[in-house]
Symmetry: C2
Subunit: 133 residues, 2 copies
DNA sequence: ACTTCGAATGGGAAGCATTCTCATTTGGGT
DNA sequence: ACCCAAATGAGAATGCTTCCCATTCGAAGT
């Protein structure tokens, strides 16, 4: 795999700061702009932070990946609303009931198919309020 | 956007045939191999078929996209199990109860955030039976 | 069958996001 | 202050996908 410990350098602090300030998944381009780090460093640092479990990688609208603070570090478990027009991704909280049901579903999958679920992705795609107008 | 009508040429028939035979989302490489069409044609045809609503594009484990027959043409609504080791994607059926709850959740999202959901993605990621050994 | 013309094809070039390379710099521990 | 592995960053390299464009195909009309 990859290292599970990394130094907390100024760059990485800046990257984490940008993600925290945004409170939503950012594209690499946005991270580069907000954190003021070179592109190659942004990519490398984001990957390392993902490997450490500090940052989560989420699929955006096009092919480009986005990143946000891992759930353990942010405040709660959540899912994503991906705007298929402007590409912006924002978070939303699922209901307790839904999460409970998803948990049960995952157990069933293991039983019935032998597939060991590591984590689930429940994202919705559509148009954000601004892009609907 | 793109054309909503396309000719049903031999190539496109081959592509659709490959997707139908597989019964699971295929990588472009797999489509090229199974349908025996050149890569550029596979990409173009898959995109056109996606635009027509005949084929659905689904995100795989790495950056590479996969394609399968749209739900309207296959047999039922389903979700995906993505193996993070071998990249294979297979389908599974969600319980009625889960789908009902998801529908309700989507209504709430519109009410509370103004985000108009077009469709939802509920995929699980983990290790398939073969890759667990 | 023959013609016609827009649609489809396909090989390669181009475009992007991402990863790799490697010489140089940085920083934590001794 | 010194050492050495870790981090940096500019550009090269990779890999997936889209674009270009000269050629071919095919459905509708004659």
């Amino acid at each position: 795999m990859a290292p599970f410990e990394v130094r907390l350098t100024a760059h990485r602090r800046a990257v984490l700061g940008a993600l925290e300030a945004a409170g939503r998944p950012l594209s690499v381009e946005e991270v580069v702009a907000a954190a003021g780090v070179p592109t190659s460093t942004a990519y490398r640092n984001l990957s390392e932070l993902v490997d450490c479990g500090v940052v989560a990688r989420v699929a955006g609208a096009g092919g480009a990946d986005r990143h946000e603070l891992a759930e353990a570090l942010s405040h709660h478990h959540h899912h994503h609303m991906v705007c298929t027009r402007c590409g912006t991704v924002s978070d939303f909280d699922p209901s307790r009931q839904l999460e409970r049901l998803i948990g049960r579903e995952i157990e069933q999958i293991l039983e019935e198919t032998g597939f060991a679920v590591d984590h689930h992705v429940f994202d919705v795609r559509g148009l954000c309020r601004r892009c609907r107008d």
